[in-house]
C-alpha cells in the first residue's frame, strides 16, 4: 500500500485531512498513553456528519475496535476500523473545553508557555473545523481513539489508564471521501494531574476495499451500510 503522507501531530496539536475513498489512515500512539479526539464528515456534503449513537446502536457496541464501522447520520460508512492493536476506543467521554482544562491543570497561557500552552479538545476541533466552514453546531459526540472508559453495572464511568502502549495503532479505511478532524489531546476523564498530551503519527495510504471486507461482513447492518455508501457514488 503506497504511503502518501506521513506526519507527526505533537501533543496538543490539531489537524484535518480528507481521506479519499479507497485510502486508509493509520494513527499510531508513539509513546503510549495518547488520546486522539476526532470528528468526521462527508467531505463533499458536510451536513452529513459522524453519528456516534447510530454507529453504536447499529453494531450493538459502546467501545470501538477492529471490525466496527463509523456511521454518518445518513446511514453510510465514513470509515471502517480495519486494524487496531489496542482493542478499545472510547465513544463516551467527549472533549474538554477551556474551563475544564483550567479546572484540571490550572492556568497555562501562551504568554508564559509559548506553544506548550494548555489547549483543549473543544477549541482545537472547533478551530480545525472552522477552516472547512464547520462550526459549533457541527461538533457532535466525538471519538476518543486510544482511550477506554469502563461502565459499571450501575452506570459509573471509570477511565482505564494504560489502555494504549507505545506503538499501538488504529487504521481507518474510508469507503467514501471523509474529512477527518482530529486533535492529540488528553481524554477529559484521564486522571493524570499534569497537562501532558502525547504525540501521534498519521500515515495516509492508498488502500483497497478488501482490507475492509471483514468490517463489511461483520454484521448484516454493516452489509447494508456499505450498500448505502456505494449508492452515494452511483
Amino acid at each position: 500500500m503506497t504511503l502518501l503522507l506521513e506526519e507527526t501531530v505533537p501533543g496538543g496539536g490539531h489537524t484535518s485531512l480528507i481521506v479519499k475513498r479507497g485510502q486508509s489512515l493509520r494513527i499510531t500512539d508513539l509513546r503510549g498513553g495518547a488520546n486522539v479526539s476526532a470528528m468526521m464528515v462527508n467531505a463533499s456534503e458536510k451536513s452529513e456528519r459522524l453519528n456516534l449513537p447510530d454507529s453504536l446502536k447499529c453494531q450493538h457496541t459502546a467501545k470501538l475496535t477492529a471490525g466496527h464501522c463509523l456511521y454518518s447520520d445518513m446511514g453510510r460508512v465514513l470509515a471502517a476500523i480495519v486494524a487496531d492493536t489496542c482493542g478499545w476506543h472510547d465513544s463516551i467521554g467527549g472533549v474538554s473545553n477551556a474551563e475544564e482544562v483550567f479546572d484540571r491543570y490550572g492556568a497555562g497561557r501562551y504568554q508564559e508557555l509559548r506553544n506548550a500552552f494548555h489547549r483543549n479538545g473543544t477549541d482545537n476541533l472547533l478551530v480545525e473545523m472552522s477552516k472547512w466552514g464547520l462550526g459549533v453546531p457541527d461538533l457532535l459526540m466525538t471519538l476518543n481513539f486510544f482511550s477506554r472508559v469502563d461502565v459499571t453495572a450501575d452506570g459509573a464511568l471509570a477511565f482505564s489508564p494504560g489502555n494504549s502502549k507505545a506503538g499501538d495503532y488504529i487504521e481507518l479505511y474510508a469507503p467514501m471521501n471523509t474529512l477527518v478532524v482530529l486533535t492529540a489531546i488528553q481524554h477529559p476523564l484521564d486522571p493524570h494531574p499534569e497537562y501532558s498530551p502525547k504525540p501521534v503519527k498519521l500515515e495516509l495510504r492508498e488502500s483497497h476495499p478488501e482490507v475492509a471486507e471483514f468490517c463489511r461482513t461483520a454484521c448484516e447492518e454493516n452489509v447494508r451500510g456499505f450498500i448505502n455508501t456505494e449508492r452515494f457514488f452511483l
Binding site: 465513544s91 463516551i92 461502565v151 452506570g155 447494508r224
Partner: protein, 213 residues
Amino acid sequence: MTSTLTVSDKHPERAIYRETLAAGEPWLHEVKAGQTLRIVDLEGNQAVDTLFYSLLNPRERFDPQRTLRRQQSLYLTSGSVLYSNLGNPMLTIVADTCGRHDTLGGACAQESNTVRYALDKRYMHSCRDNFLRACAHDGRLAKRDIGANVNFFMNVPVTAEGGLTFEDGISAPGKYVELRAEMDVIVLISNCPQLNNPCNAYNPTPAELMIWN
C-alpha cells in the same frame, strides 16, 4: 450515581400547560428558566426522544458527553444536570419515577433504519423526520442543530465488555420524569414512532407533557 426514584410534589391541576402527545408526533415548546417540565410515559416503555436548545442562542444545545462525564455516570436520573455544548447547565432532573434514561441510543432516522433493519424500511416514519419537520416550521433550528438526544424511559446499558444492549424497559404506565429549566430553553421532542424495535413492544404510545411555573 445510582438511580434513585424521586416523586414530585407538583399537582397536575396546577400546571400551566398540559397536553397529550400522540405516538409518532413532534413537539417543540419553550420552557423558561425556573419552569418545570414533566414528561409522562402514559402506557409504559415509550421512547420520548428529546433535544434541548438555549432559547437565547439555539446554537447552544444539550451535550450528552459533557453531561455524562460531569456526573461520572452513564444514565440520567434524579439529580442529573443536563449540560450544554458551551458548558452551561440547561436543565436539572428534579423528579424521576422511572430511574434510568438513555443518552447513547440516539434517535431513529429513515437512514439508520435502513442499516439496522432492512433497506426497505426507509419509508417508515422516524424521529429524525419529526425533528426536521418541527425545525423547518419553527425556523430557528435546522438539521445542523440536531445532535445526540436523550431517550427518556429507555434502558440502554453498556456491558463490562463494552457492548451496548437495548434491554427491556424499566418504565411502566404513568412513570414520569421532571426537569427544571436552568435557562430559557427550546424543547424538541419526537414521541418515537419506531415499529421495528422490541424495546417498546413494537407499540408506540402517547406521552403527556405538563409545565409548571
